[in-house]
Structure formats: C-alpha cells, structure tokens
Symmetry: C2
Subunit: 451 residues, 2 copies
Amino acid sequence: MAKDQKVIIVGAGLVGSLWAILMARRGYQVSVYERRGDMRSAGFIGGRSINLAMSDRGWKALEKAGVSEKIKAVAIPMYGRMMHSEQGQLTFQPYGKEGQAIYSVSRGGLNLELLRIGSQFDNLRYYFNHPCKSVDFRQKTIKFEDKIAQKKVEASADLIFGADGAFSAVRSSLQRLPRFNYAQNYLDYGYKELHIPPGPEGQHLIEKKALHIWPRGRFMLIALPNPDGSFTCTLFLPYEGHEAFEKLQTDQDIEAFFVKHFPDALALMPTLLENFHQNPTGNLVTIRCNPWHFEDQVLLIGDASHAIVPFYGQGMNSGFEDCTILDEMMDDYQEDWSKIVPDFSQQRVKDANAIADLALRNFVEMRDLVADPKFLLRKKIASHLQDLHPGKFLPVYSMVTFSHLPYNKALSASQAQDQLFEHILALDGIENNWKNNPEVERIFLQWLKEQ
Amino acid sequence: MAKDQKVIIVGAGLVGSLWAILMARRGYQVSVYERRGDMRSAGFIGGRSINLAMSDRGWKALEKAGVSEKIKAVAIPMYGRMMHSEQGQLTFQPYGKEGQAIYSVSRGGLNLELLRIGSQFDNLRYYFNHPCKSVDFRQKTIKFEDKIAQKKVEASADLIFGADGAFSAVRSSLQRLPRFNYAQNYLDYGYKELHIPPGPEGQHLIEKKALHIWPRGRFMLIALPNPDGSFTCTLFLPYEGHEAFEKLQTDQDIEAFFVKHFPDALALMPTLLENFHQNPTGNLVTIRCNPWHFEDQVLLIGDASHAIVPFYGQGMNSGFEDCTILDEMMDDYQEDWSKIVPDFSQQRVKDANAIADLALRNFVEMRDLVADPKFLLRKKIASHLQDLHPGKFLPVYSMVTFSHLPYNKALSASQAQDQLFEHILALDGIENNWKNNPEVERIFLQWLKEQ
C-alpha cells in the first residue's frame, strides 16, 4: 500500500536522515531535501556541537534503523559526571546503576553513517543544496531553491515531514496559518566550544569514560571525550554581567578568567585563545509550538517542533524518539496517516514541553547544584532507596536517560520526588544517619502510597 | 534639536497615528507608512472590532495629543455591566464609583480623527498603500512596496517605530535577529461580530449606558452601544466542542443556539443570520516578545509588541499608554533616544505581560464568574471596603481601568486580593453578615499591614 506513496522529508540532519531510512524501509518513495551540501563529499560543516550524548531513547531508534551496532563501536560510554572543583579536586557521580552510561558520539560521524545507509535504498533520494522556501498547504506542494542550478523547483508529495531544525522553514510556513501557537525563548547564556587535545600517545588526558563538569554556580565548563583522545569542551556563560562573554574580549581577559575558574582545564588547553576567538558564541533557544501538523499531510519532527537546551542531553534523543513513536504508530494504525499525523501531533506535544522544562532545570543542576552538599546527599539517598526498593523508585535522571517512559511522566515524577526529598532532607541529622533510617523509610512508604 | 531628526512610523492604525501626532508636535520630521489605503478617502475597512472601550489610560494619551474633547463628545459612557440571564433577567454591576465609566468609541471614527489632526502638521507625511517588507537594521533603512506605483521604495530614518499591529512586519524582521524572544498564543475561541439595530425612533433598544453581557459559562455574548442607537455585539465561542462554531453551520443551527441561550438578544437581531454568515470568525491571539527594540533606533509599540485578548478592554488603552510613557520619557531624558529606547523596552515589557495575563483572566470572569453568586458577593464586599477605607483599598478592575498604576502592580494586587477574599469568603454566614462585620474588618486590617 505504501509503495506508491510519495514522501518528502525536509532536512538531512540527524532526525531527517534517520526518519528517511525508517520510511524507506517501509517502502515509501522518499525524497530528502537538504539546505546544505552533501557531507559525504563536502565533509560536515559545524555550527552545531561536535559531539552528543546518546542515551537509551536514541539507541532504540538507531536499532530500528539497523545502525546501532556500527555507531556503538565508536561511541564512548560515560558512566557518570566527573566534577572538577576550583581547587582541582575530582568527584565522580555515577549516572545510573552499574553498567549504565550515556555515550559520547560524533554528530558528524553519526549523520554521515545515516546518509550512507540511506543511500543504499533505491526508493530514497537526496537533494542537497536545496533550501526549502515555503510550503503551499492547499496545493500540497513545497518550493525549494536549487542552489547549484540556481533555479526554483517545486515538489509535491502525499506526506511532508519538516525535520529542518530549530529554524525550520516548514514551520515558518505553518506559522502563517491561523491559530498556530509558537514560542521561541533564548537563555541569557551563550556557549563557546573549546578543545583539549590528546596526549602525546593519543591518550585521553583526563578520565575518558566520564562527562566532565566544572560547575561554577552561574556558569560552567563541560567536556566530552572523542575517540582520538581529545575532548570537546563547552563553556556556558552569561552574555552580560560581572562574569560574562562581554567581559572576555582580550587574550588577557580570557586567560585571567580561566586561571581563576578553570586552572586545571587551562593547563590542558594549548589552543584556548585561538579557539575562543575563532569559534562563534552559540545561542541557547527553546522552541515550542502547537499544532505540529497541517491536516494529515504535513508534520514537524525533531528540533523543528521542539528545540531544547542541551543540558539533559535529550535534543537528539527526543528527535530520534519521535521517529520511534511514529514507526510504532505505523504498525498500530496500519499506516493510516490520517490518524497518525494528528494523533502524534496531539500526544507528543506534552512530552516535548516536559523535556524542554526538564532541560532548562538541569542547567541549574549542572552548573550549580552538582557542587551543593545537599544535592549530593539527595543523590545518595535516592540511590539507596532505589537499591532498597527495586522497581519502586527510579530517579528522574534515570527515567529520562535510561527508560522510555514518556517525558511528561518524568516531569510529574520530578515534582513528586522534590516533595519527597523536601521531607526527608528536613530530618534532624540526616547528613549522617540517612542509611537504613526508619524515619526515611516511613516517609518514603507513605509517599509511595500517594503516588 | 529634534527638528532635523527623521522618524518613520510603520502603521497608521490607532497607536501609529496617535504617536505620529505626538512626535510631530515635538518637531520631528515624521513619515507614516500604512499598508492599507487612506481611510479619509476610502472609508475604513473592518477586520477589527467596530467599537472599543476607552478608559483612563487611553484618555490621558488623547489629552496629550489634544483630541480628547472631540472624541469624548461622541463617546458613550458605560457605567457598568448589564448582565442578561438565560431567563432574560437584568442585573447591573457598576464598574467603579459614581461617575466612573468606560466609553464606547468607534474605532474607525477615532482613527479618522487622529489622521485628520495629523495632516494639519507640515512636518508629518502619510504614505498609504505602502506595506512594509523588511527592516535592514545595519543600514537603518526600511523597505516598502508602493502598491499604487507598483514599485519598491526604500526609506531611512534616525528612529523607526513599528506600530504595525499584531502581525507586525517590523517585528518579523526583529525576529530574525539572534536572541529575540517571541510567543504567539491563540485561545481556542473565536469571535463573531453581530448587530442590534436602533429602534424606530433611532433610540437604543436596551440600556444605552452599559456594556451588556450574556454570560453562559463557556461562552458569552456582549454588546456595546453606538451613537446611532445600534449596538455592536460580539459572540465569543469555542471553535470546537459541544457548543462551538463548528456546530453552527446552518440557519437552523444558529437560530436554535440563539433561541436556547440568548432569546432576549435574538428578538433584537433581525439580521442575525445574514451577519453570522457574512462576518468572518476572528481569532484571539496574545503576542509577547522581548526585546522590543534594536539598539537605539527601532522600537515596537502597541499590538506589534503586545497584542492581547480584548476582555479587559485594554488593547488600545495599553498601546496609547505606550505613547504617554514615551512622551513623558522625552521630557525626562531630554529626548535622548539612546536612553529612551532601551529603557522603555526594558521597563514596559513586564507591564505588557501583566495586562496580557489580566486580560486572559478577565475572560473567565466575564463569561462565567459574573453570574456566580460568590463572585458577586466578593464585588459587594470589595466595594464596601473601598468605602470604609478610602484610598486604602482599590479593586483591581479600578486599578486597571480608572488609574495609571503600572499594570504589573495591578497584577500583583490581584494576586494579593485573591488571598484576602479567600479568607473573607470562608467566614461563616458571610453571605448575610458581610456588612460592618468586625471579623472582616480584622482580616482586612491584618492583610493591609502585610501589603
């Protein structure tokens, strides 16, 4: 049935190229239009972060597409956060139970692999250098510019997917329709990518299997490992204020800032000044909209409908989960898109809003709370409760990262767990007597009953 | 100093044409570009509601422009709400103290008057049929299409004001700049304008000096008086659901709906079916953005930066208040726009957000609470407290409508007053003993101390 259905996917980024594979496997006639050149020949162009943290939701979609093994072979597991204090002291906080990890993956490498696999399908065709100009909803047509031939082209399809990212052209067209709700919100923070090169033997100069964080309250530096022994670092800093990008103009400014706040990282960054001046300062935007679709024919997925800040490592993961859910809905609804498109749009919005909220909150956790004794105590008690009551208590981080529970359930759980720990952490002497404490147990069991 | 400064105002709607007068009075060289034709010759074209409720904030700006007397002469004071029950019973709720009123004013008549007064200035020029296409922020230029000459024109200015309404083209250009926060949110309600003609002698067939409301819980009908004896009615109704626009397709649907819910209004609406089919169903959008400016050179005012739903009657009033505040800032800052533009943008956003919230809330009050005995009791007690403690207690409606208090203070007061009345309305037998009740007095005085 699907064989004669024409599908257009706008965007050959991570979500678009994965979705193209899943649709091609089903037998649809898939055309993928991408603004940029073909990264298989041109190499990949930055602008977005170099590596990503893949977690369970992402892996599930890659398994569906049949690419997970190939990617996992070059992914680096990060079993926890390695915190760097101002004095250079290290503290390790595991992300989950033993063996659970998030994986540092190269954005470019992953995208390339997805394009390579996609190109093996006879019924999948890529059009690079084709920015989308607009969608005509009534005519079911979509206009592109062919930048090589320098002409306008028009295409039509039974189904159009906008996977064209946070600044989606498909969404821009939707936005002109009546009753389209839309919000774009920027943090007052920017980010700058920096670099720790490999050691002389190509080795990692700090712990390889961890995500490194230098939490400094209002700002932070993080580092993710790469297979070549290097680390990609990202500085998150306010644009304006006392300690802010606006204050880091000269070499002296930058060096003094790193000497003061990140001396141990500075020692590993010989190209700091070069990187700092050359790399752009990126923005951090949250995009929400509703509805994500037009009738049963146009649907936004990934960042196009729900761009989020990177602090929960769920941007790509949530986009990939869109693909998983749509693929499952194709089975559930026998590929009846008149049901799938509006249902997905309606159901998924609340999960997208939830992970957007969770990601904003996690910024506070990463840059500030991870260095807070009360927060660390809470982590320890949570882990202890998880051991004592297997299956009864799951920390929110694990729900988001190591489960496939809808994000909105994780958000509700997060609020409920905040209440639980407000009670527990108010107990006298809890710092010292939290282990096997009958009062903790009583509060927990009472709380559990109310869930 | 201002004499040689060139100012472009985009939009000759209410806010744009008022602002043009205030700037022309100061001696600036003002050019006003308007998308539509000249309503002085073409007559005014609808699309927006026919009459408006002018309150103190609006009058203050009109006084500054020297037009308040002319407008007031044809405005109709509305001293309160006239509630119509399903059984046709009438209840009158005054808006404020004796003599306080909001005024029904013709949108078109007001706009026309503002254009006429503006055209008396040698240093003010209108360009009609000139839709704005884009703003080039670096070049300080702005592109228009001259629809009569069918060519593109470019203009430049020291200052550019975007007063081009909820779907502002100036804002669209701002939106493409980095770090522009923006949200458009639609209610799931539409509105339809309807008509009650004058009586045979040109008289008003229902109370002239009131705003009529037929509150029906999830939906409502309202009516505002016109000088010719007619009323402009507006039906606010959900788009989808049990009782909704989607259910009102045929003449029979519409008539049955009015027979059931608005029998007394139906009797006065001989052209109901005609109006219902011919008039478009309007949307209700709230628009928020931040910042409202680009450097010291481009500034959004009125609906362009803060479109709100109409339920507090503050859309035009808040836009006019923008003009008042800017005019006052010209005095305070000796017309130093490098201070005025960013300061206004930063200070005014919170007031715009506050009135947006208050307007959304007032929809619930108008369509539902005004028929709620508890709400009416609260109104009575509030009025009583206001009498007992002159100057100490001002109902929020009065703060918004009959004062110039910043909207964000009214919003905070609204939350505080909710708490006060939660306590008072919880008192035993309060329905009958609210007058001169010592316990009410005690709660009130305690609350007052905490403010």
